[in-house]
Symmetry: C2
Subunit: 285 residues, 2 copies
DNA sequence: CGATCGTTTGACGGTGCTCAATCACCGTGG
DNA sequence: CCACGGTGATTGAGCACCGTCAAACGATCG
């Protein structure tokens, strides 16, 4: 009936492609010492590395600005020093598929190593700084500093392990369960950064969350209010407080609605009843 | 109403957990030379490596047997030599979430490096062989053979790039579009292995595909017949032939149903009409 | 040949996508 | 200061896609 792709084409016949709406916004700033990077990655520094690698370039990216552009030639791999990023891919019809959210200590842009081009874009969700590891130097630096090499391998391993969690959030379960999993994941994230696991400040919009979870952004809104009605959360736009961690975990485990054996904290007429609990591809007993 | 989790618990009160239904099935076989591994990874061999690394252990895994078990201690990283694998994670209620399908040349089990435990299980979809890189030796081997190191980094980069494609297949678009994307991905896979891009032999069940795509396995069946009705495919259980690559790509691009500007090859009453084309989280013009 | 599993097809109902209206919030400029 | 437009979040209504349940069929295997 109404086709987004043609609609866009008609509205802006010779418009720039979607990946041009953002501006590359990384600006150089004072370089750092290797030991700073190694500390961030959680590995002990080594003397040999610091001799060869005097300084590591640092880039600063402001909120909403791009660190890397999908399809662009890659000239470096980055390690997030502070702030957070959203990784996404925009398809030709303008749809923005969010792939991950990234925080301090994580490696980004490594996908580009195999063919020299970035597979996805990265935009800062808040003012951020990144260490840049020039591809030209990468092998030499890793050879010079076993600690850097080890830190990178560990970070890459974590990235791959994270892919499992993302798949769980996109799994075909009830929208409330996906949101619960996302919030629990964020909570873990906060703990790793030494902050409270209960008070979350969402740096991303409802639409970004929706894209990651694979639902409509209106559904994310509804799921937030549902979880709040069930006594799991207190929600104020982007400030979320987890009131009942056990119940939230129960919602994340369950595939549909609210588990029966955990009656609502604050009884609500909104509670769904009679919903089936099987999910796609379920193994039957 | 009917809760899978409790139902399982009632049926098998002291049952083994789901990840015990498979048996670890990897058996050692004649080790290979480093140059074989390097050739598989697409990097030029180096003399220094072959001196230190005389032989590389090779394991054989038969169809349906496990290479690694979720949660098990990891003692090696593997590179698939032949055959193919399914990576999956089983949740406590028995649901099997497929995460990826893996073929020759790909690195598996690397997620375990960061905490020493495998995050997901790997089962052979056909008789397979893998190179084993013992974690104990990994750093030493990489240092001894720059070629091995480079090959590993490239393979890891490809794995991360693949995560983007998996996300696209799980994206909230029409079931036919997801299946189209999956088949196109498989087709690319065949090309990389030097085989025909049109004739696909599916090594996995409908249920596995369904899990990866995030739909019910019945929906996968229906999508296969829909794509066949639209003239894209010829389907015979697990043998799939792509008849119209351009049309299949159009289906993969589109979010809902069959694109209007490509009338069905073989007119079918099954064709859906009036379906909207927006998708969750769509950016409105 | 019976049993089990995988695949296909049909029917039905519900979740969640779509569309739409409303509100809160914000930076701008009159 | 307040009107103004723009963005993001929330809520409601309708309906269609697809998940669920069911049954039938073919294939494989003991």
């Amino acid at each position: 009936m109404f086709n987004v792709h043609t609609a866009r084409a008609e509205a802006h016949p010779s418009d720039d492609h979607a990946w041009f709406v953002h501006r590359a916004g990384a600006t150089p700033t004072g370089p750092a010492r290797l030991t700073d990077l190694l500390a961030l990655m959680g590995v002990a520094p080594d003397a040999s590395g610091s001799e060869v690698i005097q300084t590591v370039p640092v880039w600063r990216v402001r909120t909403g600005e791009l660190l890397v552009q999908e399809g662009a030639d890659a000239d470096a791999v980055y390690v997030v020093r502070s702030g957070s990023f959203k990784g996404f891919k925009t398809s030709e019809d303008g749809y923005e598929q969010v792939l991950s959210f990234l925080a301090a200590g994580e490696v980004v842009g490594f996908e580009a190593l195999c063919d020299g081009h970035h597979a996805a874009s990265l935009v800062a969700l808040e003012d951020a700084m990144v260490f840049a590891l020039p591809l030209r130097e990468l092998d030499r630096w890793r050879a010079a500093s076993p600690a850097l090499d080890r830190g990178l391998q560990l970070a890459l391993s974590r990235r791959l392990a994270r892919a499992v969690e993302v798949a769980e959030m996109m799994a075909p379960v009830a929208a409330e369960a996906r949101l619960s999993r996302f919030l629990l994941w964020l909570s873990d994230w906060m703990v790793h950064r030494g902050q409270s696991p209960r008070r979350l400040l969402l740096r991303m919009s409802r639409r970004d969350i929706a894209s990651l979870l694979g639902v409509a952004h209106e559904t994310v809104s509804r799921s937030f209010t549902a979880l709040a009605d069930w006594g799991c959360l207190k929600v104020d736009i982007r400030e979320v407080e987890i009131l009942d961690m056990a119940r939230l975990r129960a919602c994340a485990r369950n595939t549909r609605g609210l588990p029966e054996d955990l009656p609502p904290h604050a009884p609500s007429a909104r509670r769904r009843v009679g919903a089936s609990t099987r999910r796609p591809g379920e193994l039957r007993p």
